[in-house]
């Protein structure tokens, strides 16, 4: 019996401590064997497992997209493929019909059928918590009905060509299970992996779903590890505690390149970084001022310095290469400070102007430093830019503030890789657009969104892109660098969109 005080028995304390340390040492995982059983991936802080509430492809959705199934899926090259859906067709201008596979089951054995799909869409669009974050881009969906167990019909309020694409990140939970469980913190899915444990501030552990209907993933176990601090994340990579991490600061890429065990670099993301223009801010309704700002920014110099040459100047469009209607022959807006000064003089502003410049503390790779460089370059042509650096907590509200700054650093992306969805971000009245934009742009985007056929859609997209350039509707910058550091024992083709999914990984040959 332990009756003696520990304080009187320092030797016992030492023994207990030694035993505890020894036991803990045994619990530390052994180094990976030749065949890769598990990988550990660094990830953004997590909030929820509920696919109706998750937003971030680098965060919550990366996890839930591997536990749950969707009707369709976007491949790494941007093509749309079926997941639950074997086929789909536009059965009427405002109707899409999806035919489902019959071998998809939740872990409890219940089928992932048309009723499940209809119930989930209803939950996101009309349920007690509706509209849920996952209902983004679903405005046109009027009704979803299960024609039979294997056929689900979507009725839309107007033609919605991109609907199958939009459904690529809509995941389905089991209705009866959801009544008794909290989908925010628990999961019972049908996807390639099942959830072993979920700690939103620590480790999320996944293992292979043996009953998965699709191709078997090459890596049987995965741990997603939340490490919010960049320096610690880099140390964990270098120390071998992480097998991969993404969204690394471009200036940190160099120090990781010295590590032999890591493959480090960047590809252009399918996401363009821009400066959003507030058309309601002083001087911003003047085309000459908007053009002058575009001419004043030396994109080549900034990408070479702040972005360490990982990306180059982007062209005059807000689309990445995976989007329908992306124009590969477009070039970057030229750097011409003389012309910028001349345009400002023409606008009667040769004495210079002062504008506000907003940027987020985190979120867009390289944004904080790039904004400093942009402000300095604007200063050289007589535009004094006052920088406002906003914490992430207030960022969304700041973006929607009608009194917001003249220019705001932002990167446009769409999980569906849908062009109308991206273009719609800039139309008059859109949540993140401020002030009236040129009417020709609004008209082209509306026509592209509601187009009845692909040819019309592409023609309208081309029109919208041209208006964006002609009217200098945004400040065109560069592609966001998709920075990565991946263990050389893994063969992981980094995607241009942000998905960080273990089933994209194979052991290196």
């Amino acid at each position: 019996m332990k009756t003696q005080s520990l304080v009187r028995a320092p030797a016992r304390v030492a023994i207990v401590m030694a035993a505890a340390i020894g036991a803990a040492a045994l619990l530390v995982p052994a180094p990976a064997a030749a065949q890769i059983e598990t990988v550990t991936v660094g990830i953004e802080p997590l909030t929820t497992l509920d696919p109706g509430k998750g937003r971030a492809t680098r965060g919550d959705l990366a996890i839930s997209s591997q536990i749950y199934s969707s009707l369709t899926s976007v491949n790494e090259d941007g093509t749309l493929v079926g997941d639950l859906a074997l086929s789909w067709e536009q059965t009427a201008p405002t109707e899409w019909t999806f035919n489902l596979r019959d071998d998809a089951f939740f872990a409890d054995g219940s089928p992932v059928d048309a009723n499940v799909v209809a119930w989930n869409l209803d939950r996101m669009l009309k349920g007690p918590d509706a509209p849920m974050p996952a209902a983004t881009g679903m405005r046109l969906i009027a009704e979803v009905t299960a024609k039979d167990a294997k056929t689900v019909v979507f009725t839309t309020s107007e033609p919605f060509l991109d609907l199958p694409r939009r459904l690529a990140w809509t995941y389905f939970i089991e209705p009866k299970w959801a009544e008794e469980h909290d989908p925010s913190t628990e999961a019972m899915g049908s996807g390639p992996y099942t959830l072993v444990s979920w700690d939103p501030a620590g480790d999320v552990v996944l293992k292979l779903n043996e009953n998965y209907y699709g191709p078997k993933p090459a890596i049987p176990n995965a741990t997603y590890r939340v490490i919010p601090n960049e320096a610690t994340r880099l140390a964990a990579l270098r120390g071998g505690e992480l097998d991969a991490a993404f969204g690394i600061d471009p200036l940190s890429v160099g120090q990781l390149q010295a590590e032999d065990s890591l493959s480090v670099g960047a590809i252009d993301a399918n996401k363009m970084q821009t400066m959003r223009i507030n058309f309601g801010a002083p001087h911003m309704d003047d085309l000459r001022v908007r053009q002058a700002i575009n001419y004043a920014i030396d994109k080549d110099a900034i990408t070479k310095s702040v972005y360490a040459g990982l990306v180059g100047p982007g062209s005059t469009q807000i689309l990445g290469p995976l989007y329908d209607g992306f124009e590969a022959n477009r070039e970057a807006w030229p750097y011409d400070p003389e012309k910028a000064r001349a345009l400002l003089a023409e606008a009667g502003l040769s004495d210079g102007i002062t504008i506000r410049l907003g940027t987020a503390e985190t979120g867009y790779v390289g944004a904080a430093q790039a904004t400093q460089a942009i402000a300095a370059q604007l200063g050289q042509v007589g535009i004094k830019a006052e920088i406002e650096t906003i914490p992430y907590a207030n960022w969304v509200r700041y973006l929607r503030d009608p009194e917001g700054p003249a220019l705001t650093f932002i990167a446009w992306g769409s999980q569906s890789v849908s062009t109308p969805e991206i273009l719609a971000q800039l139309v008059t009245g859109a949540p993140y657009a401020i002030g009236p934009v040129p009417a020709a742009y609004d008209a082209a985007v509306a026509a592209a969104t509601g187009a009845a056929d692909e040819a019309t859609k592409l023609a309208e997209i081309a029109k919208a892109l041209q208006v964006t350039e002609d009217e200098a509707m945004t400040v065109f910058l560069w592609a966001q660098p998709q920075t990565y550091a991946i263990s050389r024992k893994l063969d992981w083709k980094v995607r241009m969109d942000d998905w960080v999914r273990v089933y994209d990984i194979h052991p290196a040959q």
């Binding site: 040492a25 983004t136 490490i227 919010p228 601090n229 610690t232 140390a235």
Partner: protein
């Protein structure tokens, strides 16, 4: 000279008499007063945080789809009552709290209390280990800086320790990671997966506390060393070790205990930096995340927990000080 109860030698009574006394060193009236002040402090903290968080934007936008129309956002705002004036929201919140209707986190079905209390053990573990290291290290170095036989032992450790006072905790943390995780590969960089994971964050916390403890103990010891009661004790023939450990150190502990108590209180909120650097899943990390998500029930609950802990700690410190120095009872 016999020790006096009212004279300038409280030391002996403090270090011997008080510990033997079974009587609570604080009267019910004083205790009641303190508890009332504590309740006021908690209420004030909750009010300030509630007003600040609701005034800087409601979470409706975070709960809505990206392309939600203004009407849809308004619908969500009304569902949660965020459309009400802040005073109305505040009264409703306080009434809910008072009647036990603790609000749920906006992002799960867990109550805010469950979310916060789930992270508290990790923070207490880290804070406790950090304080223990800080006290041991600071106390040892402070003691040695006065009583060590060799000059080098008296001067070098305290000088080295003082360096850490000027280094922010996050930098200490990163330096420790670089040395022990990357260079020597002895310890993991982050997380809370084994006891090994506790060492670096706890040492970081300890190193941020130790310099002040060492310095304060040193000056307290220097002050006591020339006191009359030390001569008395020497004259009584007590050993040098007994005089130092029992009398001088005992009398020097009052300011140190007060400091540790105050630091322990502020540590609960200040530990957030260390938790972030080491990805330690504690209250601080949770607080940062919830502030980012505008999950106000969790934020306010976390503040209530921190405020209560702070108040309890300062009460505990007062009790300890009264035990160590009976004069402060009155």
């Amino acid at each position: 000279m016999p020790p006096s109860t009212s004279g300038p030698t409280p030391a002996n009574t403090a270090s011997t008499g008080a510990f033997r006394s079974a009587r609570l060193p604080i009267g019910p009236r004083v205790l009641g007063h303190r508890l009332l002040a504590a309740a006021f402090a908690v209420w004030a903290a909750v009010t300030i945080v509630f007003v600040m968080i609701t005034a800087t934007g409601d979470p409706a936008l975070a709960l809505a789809p990206e392309d939600a129309s203004a009407a849809q956002v308004e619908q969500i705002r009304a569902r949660y009552g965020f459309d009400q004036p802040i005073p109305v929201q505040y009264v409703r919140f306080v009434v809910d709290l008072a009647t036990g209707g603790f609000p749920s986190s906006l992002y799960s079905r867990q109550t805010a209390a469950q979310v916060v209390l789930g992270t508290l053990p990790n923070t207490l573990l880290l804070g406790g280990a950090g304080i223990a290291i800080g006290v041991l290290l600071g106390g040892t170095v402070g003691y040695l800086s006065v009583f060590a036989r060799f000059r080098v032992v008296r001067e070098v450790p305290i000088s080295v320790l003082m360096v850490f006072q000027s280094i922010p905790a996050f930098l200490t943390g990163i330096l420790l990671i670089l040395l022990f995780s990357l260079q020597l590969r002895w310890l993991p960089t982050s997380g809370a997966r084994s006891w090994w994971s506790l060492i670096l964050p706890a040492v970081t916390v300890g190193l941020s506390l130790a310099p002040a403890i060492a310095r304060l103990l040193r000056s307290a010891l220097m002050e006591q060393i020339t006191a009359d009661y030390v001569n008395t004790a020497r004259a009584k023939g007590l050993t040098r070790r007994r005089i130092r450990l029992h009398h001088i150190l005992g009398n020097s502990l009052v300011p140190v205990v007060t400091l540790v108590g105050l630091q322990a209180g502020s540590l609960l909120s200040g530990i957030v930096v260390v938790e972030t650097v080491f990805a330690w899943p504690g209250l601080g990390s949770q607080l940062v995340k919830s502030v980012n998500l505008h999950d106000y029930p969790v934020v306010v609950t976390a503040v209530i927990v921190v405020a209560i802990a702070y108040v309890l700690l300062s009460l505990l410190v007062d009790l300890l000080v009264m035990l160590l120095n009976p004069r402060s009872r009155y």
